[in-house]
Symmetry: C2
Subunit: 214 residues, 2 copies
Amino acid sequence: MRISELSRHSGIPVATLKFYIREGMLPRGISSSPTSAEYGDDHLVRLRLIQALSEVRGLPLAKVRDILAIIDDPDSGETNDPVHTMGEAVAALPPYVEADSDSPRAIAALDAIGFTYDTDYAAVAQLDSAIRAVENAGLPWDTNVLRRYADAMTEVARQELAPVPEQTAADAVTYAVLGTALFEPVILALRRLAHHHLLVQQRDEEHEPTASTS
Amino acid sequence: MRISELSRHSGIPVATLKFYIREGMLPRGISSSPTSAEYGDDHLVRLRLIQALSEVRGLPLAKVRDILAIIDDPDSGETNDPVHTMGEAVAALPPYVEADSDSPRAIAALDAIGFTYDTDYAAVAQLDSAIRAVENAGLPWDTNVLRRYADAMTEVARQELAPVPEQTAADAVTYAVLGTALFEPVILALRRLAHHHLLVQQRDEEHEPTASTS
């Protein structure tokens, strides 16, 4: 299809499509004449991904570009190393905290739960900043609270990383990078909905006399 | 202390402190003369909370004000109802998705896991938008994936809502509202760190021959 049709199918203005092409976020179409190019379904798929990251996830375009570059060329680092690729992806995601070699709260927490960590990995500074906010707000923060969240997230991560036999290495990287970005809003919405569900249950139990008290 | 000292102790400019007072986010000091007022430790505590919500959590000031208003007067709704109060708090938190009575993906998911829900509750539209992004990115979305996250978050929410005997009702609301806002970055950072921890373990296991193969 021509770029005007790609615009109509995707609902994205032609000027925006040309911007994505210039920025390397959308591959060029195949030249069909000196003045026009052909676009295909792959382009529509890529546009849906850009929209998922920018509109739904709310990432700035520069960060969307970083994540697309990681997916398109996961080996751009020195080594074909998933630990390195995931580190790059996490650094492209909010919260954008200054990497800080001195993250005392995060390091104490990670030591307490026995995680292997690397202070260059952006999530260490992210955790440190998150714990500082919890403490500043006067919320409880101790090993029990830490374990509540660490145990739940370790179990989630274990299931997420369970090898999928038919997956190629490139698919695994795409899944890991996009999964990190796009399952986060799902997780937070479900926690909020679980609170709602449990609070409604508690309220109904208080208002309905139970067999033993009636 | 005078406002100049409050500024020095908190590191926040006097002009910003006056703005917080005008906006009702920081209580006025106690007038000690027609031209000056006294501030105390309560003011420093409140300023740390504002910083936690605005700087670390990254909330816009209007939303910080909404959350402080909920904490200060949890009964401002018709009823002293934690379900209602939590609903207000969740609506003040990102992602700011248009409330949509038509959230087919979220409703299908909530029915599948047997949650009680109310389509006016902001997290329903938030979940719908999050699932749409997952689907648009081509990530797997089925009942198994849903349960992975729902089970983990139900267990977390159950522990978070376990009644604390010495807690007053007002403390419980503060804890619930701030906990919703401020434990979210902790949860996401720990998931990212769990991925890192497990990926490093996997890599080391691949590189070190095990007893059975050596």
